[in-house]
């Protein structure tokens, strides 16, 4: 599973607060960094939750 974040992400940082294993707000470039190119099996459920919790549907999984 791969995570992508759309450009229209509002950088609120909610994903980092709820799922710090997967996301980190990068203040230098004002963007959310994804911690894994390929999400480890044990974190896939969290990734699904993150996509469902995003305020503006900016997190996509494939």
């Amino acid at each position: 599973m791969k995570i992508t974040i759309k450009e229209y992400c509002v950088r609120c940082g909610l994903c980092q607060d709820l799922y710090p294993e997967l996301f980190k707000y990068n203040s230098e470039v004002d963007a959310i960094d994804i911690n894994y190119d390929e999400v480890p099996e044990e974190l896939t459920e969290k990734a699904r939750k993150a996509a469902a919790d995003c305020a503006v549907t900016a997190i996509f999984l494939k």
Binding site: E7, Y8, V10, C12, G13, L14, Q16, D17, D53
Partner: protein, 506 residues
């Protein structure tokens, strides 16, 4: 050089800018929005919150207006305040028109306008003026982010254009009339905007430390700062609100309006809140809302603690104390009360009725998170040693306070006896609380038509302002009072578009 020609240009795509853009395009104007970030929403995208709409009824509008003006000692500009109150009636219909709904609506009856403070009816700042509408969010996200996204989508669907990564940096004026602006795209290329009118809705200046210092006297820090500071900005971190609109308007002769900070009470430092202030890592945020004993660094009470759930008031009161901090102090008996009988103030954002394992939470913050503003002691003397509170004064304060508890009357501040809980039994707990900043705002002087004024109070034709950058006159000077900014942003957005439309068609 790229050139864009429109009837109306809008600087900023937060609540105010988009409310203006949608309203104007629905009237048939050709509208373009210029946004410096790669997405819409401004600072508000970081908050779930609610908004306030006064009921569309003359009696309600009259009362809300007069309550507000009296509250500000008529320092607010009455025409600007009236425009806000009157146009706030349109908010629910506007949001429903975006295809969105509310998760809760809390009406305020006529007789309760101005009669309630704190968030008894759902509002943490100041007094109740109207009905409160809680935004419905997606997932665990922020309702206002969804409103902005939906508004942007509606605007584009109606034929509007949003230029992202394209800050407006200069306003072009011919004589006393605005005729255009200059924006710059991501590569730094100039975009010349020819427009009949411009609405500046670029937000506050929370992310501009120099402006914060110069115009409010406070020192900028972020929410994870561990050493206090004069003010702690936490609510919209990293939202890049740097006062660009204010700077551009002042450069062409716009007058400086009232500027200030909409603050609240906040325990800073690690382990308490996340990047989004609505995600808390423990129950400290709820504890500091409670109406128990509050003292300052001198060991003296400084407020009727019934106000402790009124964020703006507490933020202001705390900032007036020595070292700009206050302490919530309680004992083991009060911990049991909060855990077993429940909280006295339920906080709508984190609506726990009871707390859990308060001591463990304190121990974790102190020992694991190393938060320097959380204290746990075996005696009051030890607590004073840890906090630096004046021990002699503290002893007297607590003796008096405990006597008030026994006699069920607060001789000092007249606090409601049901909130009088003695401080007697170990362990003793304290939280050091600072003034946090929701937003630093104001700076553009407008009139009741949202028209920007110059130093001589003359209208700069074709130039309007709405939202946080223009909110100063809603409260007046001295500083901005605490009230739901979202309500003002929406209302000024609608009003500025109405007035720009009239001007363009004259």
């Amino acid at each position: 050089m790229k050139e864009v020609s429109v009837d109306l240009a809008v600087m900023g795509s937060g609540l105010a800018g988009l409310a203006a853009a949608v309203t104007a395009i629905e009237k048939g104007l050709k509208v373009a929005v210029f946004e410096k970030r790669p997405f819409q929403g401004g600072g508000i995208s970081n908050t779930p919150m609610c908004t306030m709409a006064v009921r569309d009824d003359k009696a309600y509008i009259d009362k809300a207006f007069n309550v507000h003006m009296n509250y500000t000692n008529w320092n607010a500009d009455p025409a600007v305040a009236h425009t806000w109150i009157k146009n706030s009636c349109r908010i629910p219909e506007y949001i429903r028109g975006l295809g969105l709904d509310f998760q809760a609506e809390v009406p305020t009856p006529l007789e309760e306008i101005g009669a309630k403070r704190g968030y008894g009816g759902g509002f943490p700042n100041g007094y109740h003026l109207g009905d409160y509408y809680f935004f419905k969010a997606r997932g665990k996200g922020h309702g206002a982010a969804l409103i902005c996204k939906s508004a942007a989508e509606k605007f584009v669907k109606l034929g509007g254009e949003i230029y992202f990564n394209s800050p407006i940096k200069k306003i072009i004026k011919e004589g006393n009339k605005v005729v255009g602006a200059l924006a710059y795209d991501k590569e730094g290329n100039e975009i010349k905007i020819n427009t009949k009118a411009l609405i500046v809705a670029s937000g506050g200046f929370s992310d501009n430390p120099e402006f914060v210092k110069r115009y409010t006297g406070h020192t900028y820090t972020n929410n994870n700062c561990d050493d206090g500071g004069n003010v702690l900005f936490n609510t919209f971190p990293n939202s890049q609100m740097t006062g660009d609109g204010q700077s551009a308007v002042w450069e062409i002769g716009g007058a400086q309006g009232s500027m200030g900070i909409n603050g609240h009470n906040l325990v800073p430092g690690p382990g308490i809140i996340g990047n989004t202030p609505w995600i808390v890592f423990n129950e400290t945020r709820t504890m500091q809302e409670q109406p128990y004993l509050w003292v300052n660094q001198l060991g003296q009470r400084f407020i009727n603690e019934e106000m402790s759930n009124d964020h703006m008031t507490m933020g202001t009161a705390i900032a007036n104390q020595k070292d700009k901090c206050g302490y919530l102090v309680f004992d083991e008996d009060t911990v049991k009360h909060m855990e077993n009988e429940g909280l006295d103030y339920i906080y709508m954002i984190f609506p726990a009725e009871r707390l859990h394992n308060v001591r463990e939470q304190f121990e974790e913050l102190i020992n694991v998170k190393k938060n320097k503003h959380v204290f746990l002691a075996n005696s009051l003397e030890e607590l004073c040693e840890q906090t630096g509170i004046d021990a002699e004064n503290m002893k007297n304060t607590v003796e008096n306070y405990n006597r008030f508890c026994d006699q069920k009357h607060d001789d000092e501040f007249g606090k409601n006896p049901k909130f009088l809980r003695p401080v007697k039994y170990k362990k003793f707990y304290a939280l050091r609380v600072f003034k946090g900043g929701y937003q630093a705002m104001g700076g553009i002087k407008i009139n009741g038509k949202c028209e920007v004024l110059d130093e001589d109070f003359r209208v700069i034709k074709g130039l309007y302002s709405a939202g946080d950058c223009a909110a100063g006159e809603v409260f007046g000077n001295p500083p901005i009072g605490g009230i739901g900014m979202s309500s003002i942003s929406f209302a000024q957005g609608f009003a500025s578009a109405d007035e720009a439309f009239k001007y363009i068609n004259e």
